[in-house]
């Protein structure tokens, strides 16, 4: 490749615009919109994997942009009426096509890399857990962008019309939207809750976008990377072949790689959502201080948690005796959205994004929060948030252990009065019972809360038929 010619294309072709628009719009999107990419432990600047996944999610519109810019570039020879002159030159079409394709690849990949760099600098400041297993997510993302642009170039050359770039970009956007919303998702009804939930299916993995990030510990599986790489290479090959093709036959033949890529990719890609989004075992590996454990990803938060964790266990043991949990652990179970959470009798499971934990200020509040998670862990379907019986029961149960009602962290502003009004009479009634009966009611409530069967608050207030 001739670097002077590459330099010319880097300055004069669509390439710098493509890179500039991709970078600027991505940063604007991330910084100007206050979305869930700023929230808690899964914020895009919190962990490397979250960074990689959130920046991948942006491809739902960055990829169509790349396709559109590619088409604009592919249209250039036709619009400039250069075809005649170019046909008479000796240099093979593949050399000629490689230069603008290379220039666009360079600017798009640089823009994407810079985007990751902007987040990466902040991730370095936010976590001590550094690893490289996030890298394939971003590399495949960059490949998607480049392949999209090359495919656009080929299409722009094969269909030389001013309508090609906008229609192609819109088509690509429709593709990512369909894959995210309907075509790429399979609906299931959870028998336990009766809620309809959707999970991504195999088809959705042909889209560059990834599912929203719900857990720090979730990452894409290797088979997803492999399948997507095959698919992306297929699209890029077709794009380049279209860019070089001179005859109708060659153009038809150029469609073969993208079809073959799709078929091969669908053979390799997993169909089970649990094998697409998997737990990152290295990140989930527990780091413990006595009975209190967090994941490796959150190792830097263990020091703050160890004291309150021990204290909560001691208090629980004092109150519940042998039935009390014996350890505190960060929850590493990654359950599908909408499913009923599963809890343990012997372990206090918590997440740093649980409202009650995230909101806790100081050791005392953190202790209360862990007490609450040990007594009434909460049964809102995974990914949903609610407010009601679980929270009232938490207030009563924690008040019972501590001997006085406390305003628990994570209570929405304005709801604390309501909690107190509901919880105080029940708490008073409970305290008035004989000690053995108090414990029996608490144990019955805990059984309901841990199995997510029945309303623990009803059990506490004695309403439940037992």
């Amino acid at each position: 490749m001739n670097f002077r010619v590459l330099h010319i294309e880097l300055r004069r072709s669509v390439a710098p615009w493509a890179g500039g628009v991709v970078l600027a719009s991505a940063l604007a999107f991330l910084y100007l919109v206050n979305g869930s990419w700023w929230n808690g432990t899964t914020a895009w600047t919190a962990q490397w994997t979250s960074l990689a996944l959130w920046t991948r999610s942006l491809l739902f519109y960055l990829w169509p942009l790349a396709v559109g810019f590619g088409a604009l570039q592919g249209l250039r020879d036709h619009r400039s009426k250069m075809v005649e002159l170019l046909t008479s030159t000796p240099r093979p079409a593949r050399h000629r096509a490689a230069v603008p394709a290379g220039a666009t690849a360079i600017t798009l990949a640089s823009a994407y890399a810079f985007l990751v760099l902007v987040g990466g600098v902040q991730v370095l400041a936010n976590t001590r857990y550094t690893h490289l297993s996030w890298l394939p997510i971003s590399l495949v993302g960059a490949l998607f962008l480049v392949a999209g642009a090359v495919l656009g170039m080929g299409a722009g050359r094969a269909l030389p019309s001013v309508l090609t770039p906008p229609l192609l970009a819109m088509g690509a956007f429709a593709f990512t939207a369909l894959m995210h919303l309907s075509l790429g998702r399979t609906a299931t009804i959870d028998p336990a809750t009766g809620l309809t939930t959707t999970a991504p299916n195999r088809l959705s993995l042909l889209s560059p976008e990834v599912d929203e990030v719900h857990s720090t510990l979730v990452t894409l599986s290797a088979s997803v990377h492999i399948g997507q790489t095959i698919w992306v290479l297929g699209t890029a090959t077709t794009g380049f072949a279209l860019l070089v093709a001179a005859t109708r036959r060659a153009r038809l033949l150029a469609l073969a790689p993208v079809l073959a890529g799709a078929v091969l990719a669908l053979l390799v890609l997993p169909s089970d959502p649990r094998r697409m989004y998997v737990v990152d075992e290295a990140a989930a590996k527990p780091v413990c201080d006595g009975p209190v454990c967090v994941t490796t990803a959150h190792e830097d938060r263990l020091a703050d948690l160890a004291g309150p964790g021990r204290k909560a266990l001691r208090l629980l043991h004092g109150a519940l005796g042998d039935r009390a949990p014996v350890s505190v652990r960060e929850n590493t179970a990654v359950q599908p959205e909408g499913s009923t959470p599963r809890w343990s009798r012997t372990t206090v499971l918590f997440g740093f994004d649980d409202d009650i934990v995230a909101d806790a200020r100081g050791e005392e509040q953190l202790t209360w929060a862990l007490l609450a998670k040990g007594l009434v862990p909460g049964c809102a379907p995974v990914g949903w948030s609610g407010f009601g019986g679980d929270e009232y029961a938490q207030a009563v149960a924690v008040g019972w252990v501590l001997g006085e009602l406390k305003p628990l962290p994570g209570t929405p502003a304005g709801a604390s009065g309501e909690v107190d009004a509901k919880a105080r009479p029940v708490w008073k009634e409970l305290k008035a019972l004989p000690p053995a009966e108090q414990l029996a009611r608490i144990n019955a409530m805990r059984a309901a809360a841990l199995s997510c069967k029945g309303d623990p608050f009803d059990v506490l207030s004695g309403k439940a038929a037992r």
Binding site: R4, V5, K81
Partner: protein
Amino acid sequence: MMPAMSAADIAPTPYAWEIRATGLKVRVGRKRMAVDGLDLSLGTGVHGLLGPNGAGKTTLIRALATVLRPAEGTLELLGESAGGTGEHRALRRRIGYLPQEFGYYKRFTVREFVEYMAWLKEVPKADIPGAVQRAVERVGLADRAEERMKALSGGMVRRVGIAQAIVNDPSILLLDEPTAGLDPAQRLRFRELLQELGADTCVVVSTHLVEDVAAACSDVVLFAEGRLVFQGTPDELAAAGGPEHVGDSPLERGYSALLLNPEQTRGTW
């Protein structure tokens, strides 16, 4: 600065004619034969390709530029057959071509554009900057070389078209209507350039301006309805006409006389 002589430069050419066509037919579209049985041999020098509109001049030039493939007959360029399949890579390196409709990348500067074309013509990497500078100087655009193509006037764009055609020091130079858009002074300068180039190059200039031919061409090829009507010097063309023929100059009268053929009157206006 001239490129250094190599053994290939001084070796005798293995062919008698730069361009040699026998029974050449070139199809345009599905049916029409725009070049219909042409026998033509051209050597070094400046050959003016004259003929009425629709005579097939552009089709012939496109076939000579290896853009169109001959349908029948043989076409030999620099001793190599230009028919059949194949990329003609070695041959194309030695051809310069200015299409009738000269397209260009508007955002490129003059130098970038000519450099890009030199790269496409596979001029050796080390020679490109020098070759570009020489070509730009020869068309008088050295002081505008850093300007964007879109900022140029029509005449200047035409000169860039000539610069890109000569940047690879071609052995065959094909110019389709090169003087369109040039003002009289530029046209004079262009004729000088043609004569310089004709010393060692086979230049084929398609034009409908008879005075261009008179001033710059060593040889006239008169072409009508896809066939050769006349080939000779400008003087011979002038001699063919008499006072009874239409035209303001001897050449125009010769042109009229040769085209005034009973078979060819059906298409007048």
